[in-house]
């Protein structure tokens, strides 16, 4: 009998002491970011005794493939990091849990940035992730370089941007104006220029006008794309056709090109490479109708559909998206907080480094945040086609008219219109 009681006690204590493990897979792995993430995980574990989080950090380049493989093989995972580009793929695979029942009882939903949660519902109108990092392009300027050439303020329109960048450009001195992006997903940059020539972009789909027509077959797209090509030819090094993110940052830091469109994660890099007083952010230059259509990029945590700890996984997401944690996360990681309370409570997000985004958030008349059709199955193929054909235009192998026709046909075939 004594033996039986002892055995039962051992079994009970093992059961009581056993920890529930949540397996989390991140995508944007980097040593700096991992340190921030681990700190948040430790706080969560402290607040939830008996819970252990097992963080898997694959290299960024292969992270999505690893997640796709893990989910399609139903390997034990509870939470995955999902970027807006991978959201539709993962949801279509049946790998993600619909979070709407959780959101219905979540207080944080009403503090999300304008339309953000709507944008997270790109797949069949349901949210499969809660954004914890927002990316939106804004204009970065090198104040010192502009001042050297007698320019005191940032360009307000795309025409001013072109004029300013051409004025600065002098290849003999190694000085250029605009920080051009030729390779490695240049889609956002092209789209921002082209759509700024419109005044009727559908808020739910950047590639359609409000009356449901494809922007690529509209004559205004031609004006926008022609200006984009002119900016490349007159204000950027010819080499920029092969410039990706690193080259853009390098030329901004070195002052070779002082006008840069970029996301908030650039702030962290610039802060460690440039004195604080040399740069700032400003709202994106608007087009002839006084409009610009920035697009939200975002990433966040999603719960895996076959997880055995869905409620606990939601508890982690809720904790992660609390204003205090978000403030720490976004400040150190260098992304925009998705929660309005963070901007109101934390003075850090009121500096001139965030001026560009805050002014755009507060000016819905000129800045309409819009969705790109990233939910479309054709999206991945589109980004490649657009990059390749845009390079052909920049190298003089194709005309603007030709590629606009190709792009139009592509989206018609993809069923966008």
């Amino acid at each position: 009998m004594k033996k039986l009681i002892a055995f039962l006690l051992i079994v009970l204590s093992v059961f009581l002491l056993a920890k529930t493990t949540l397996t989390v897979v991140e995508v944007f792995t980097s040593p700096e970011r991992d340190a921030i993430l681990k700190n948040i995980i430790e706080q969560f574990e402290e607040q939830n005794p008996g819970v252990k989080i097992n963080l898997i950090s694959p290299p960024y380049e292969t992270a999505y493939q690893k997640i796709y493989t893990m989910i399609s093989n139903k390997q034990p995972v509870d939470i995955v990091e999902v970027g807006d580009w991978s959201l539709s793929t993962l949801a279509a695979m049946g790998g993600l849990e619909n979070l709407e029942p959780y959101i219905a009882n979540w207080d944080g939903a009403k503090y999300m940035l304008p339309n953000l949660l709507e944008f997270a519902r790109i797949y069949k109108g349901k949210a499969y992730l809660i954004p914890n990092a927002v990316y939106a392009k804004t204009l970065f300027i090198r104040k010192d370089v502009l001042k050297k050439y007698g320019i005191e303020r940032a360009p307000k329109t795309v025409f001013e941007l072109y004029g300013m960048a051409s004025y600065l450009t002098d290849p003999r001195r190694g000085q250029y104006g605009y920080d051009f992006r030729g390779k490695g997903y240049p889609t956002d940059f092209i789209d921002l220029f082209v759509t700024s020539f419109f005044d009727d972009i559908d808020p739910n789909n950047m590639y359609l006008t409000k009356d449901g027509k494809l922007i690529w077959s509209d004559p205004r797209a031609k004006y926008g794309l022609e200006l984009y090509v002119k900016i490349f030819k007159d204000t950027a090094p010819k080499d920029a056709v092969n410039w990706g993110f690193s080259e853009q940052i390098n030329s901004f830091v070195s002052g070779i090109a002082p006008l840069l469109y970029q996301d908030p994660d650039t702030l962290g890099i610039l802060k460690s490479n440039l004195p604080d007083n040399l740069f700032e952010t400003d709202p994106l230059p608007v087009g002839p109708y006084g409009k610009a259509y920035p697009h939200y990029g975002f990433s966040g945590w999603g719960i895996v559909s076959y997880s055995k700890h869905k409620d606990l996984a939601w508890k982690f997401i809720e904790f992660f998206n609390s204003p205090k944690v978000l403030s720490y996360w976004c400040k150190n990681y260098g992304v925009l907080p998705p929660d309005k309370r963070v901007y109101e409570n934390d003075p850090y997000f009121k500096s001139d480094k965030y001026k560009g985004w805050i002014e755009m958030f507060n000016d819905p008349e000129h800045y309409q945040f819009t969705k790109q059709p990233i939910w479309s199955e054709a999206w991945g193929k589109w980004t490649e086609l657009q990059e390749r054909t845009m390079q052909e235009v920049l190298l003089g192998k194709k005309s603007v008219d030709q590629v606009l026709r190709e792009w139009s046909e592509f989206w018609e075939k993809a069923g966008l219109k």
């Binding site: 390779k183 080499d239 070779i256 991945g380 193929k381």
Partner: protein, 294 residues
Amino acid sequence: MKPRRTARFFLYAVLPVIAIVSFLVVYPTIRGVIMSFQNYNLYNLRNVHFVGLENYKAIFTDSRFYEDLWNTVLWIAGSVSLQFVLGFILALLMWKPFKGRGIYAGLVFYPWALSGFAIGLVWSWLMNGTFGVINDILLRFHIVKYPIHFLSDPKWAMWSVILINVWYGIPFFAIMILAALQSVPSSVVEAAMIDGASAARRLFQIVIPYIKPTLLSTLLLRVIWVMNFPDIIYGTTRGGPAGATETLSVYMINIVFYENDYSKAATVGVIILSILIAYAIIYMKTTSYEELEL
């Protein structure tokens, strides 16, 4: 041991190897071939079914495939021929012992120890048309008037990535050929010298015939490896600008990364495999490879 027991023993002895090779090579190959006849797309995993020759039709009717095939031919021909010639020269230079040969050999072999993707990233900065070191040197020494856009001008891009691959691949030939040269009996070479044979004659009539098996097998292997080697191109241009450096293996990766279409990528993989098998058969027949004592 009875013959039957001997046969069983050998079967047990090779079974682990057969199992490992089947798991790592045979199964993925068969899976890839099957996938090339399916619609295995990450967007559509719940409805994977056989689609016949649809993927092959899509690839063969796309002009991009033929452009990439031509790029692949250039990539292999340029890389392997230069790697071979330069590797051979380096091996000859290291054949006879001299002071500092160890350091010299270390320098020659060093690129082979690096990762192809990392090499691509480093060289993309060296060859950058705006702030690259190579252009800086060329401009400072007035060798060129304007910077060369090595990786962004389609006329230069393919030759630039080939140059990087040559730098990377020379050590392979140098190592293999040097090892073969060391097996050439010095007495034969010396006898030829005494008989008054010139250096060129000694090389072409004695040395090369002696090491021919090594030369043929290294060339065969290297062509296969270079065709399946997208690392450097991916690290520098990702196949751009405007497809100028896209080879079939880069195309395959681009299909997976951008389109998530594993079937289409598997189709390109099967085509690459078929080309290589055909190449290997023709190569072995025309060079009488099988008759050589390897």
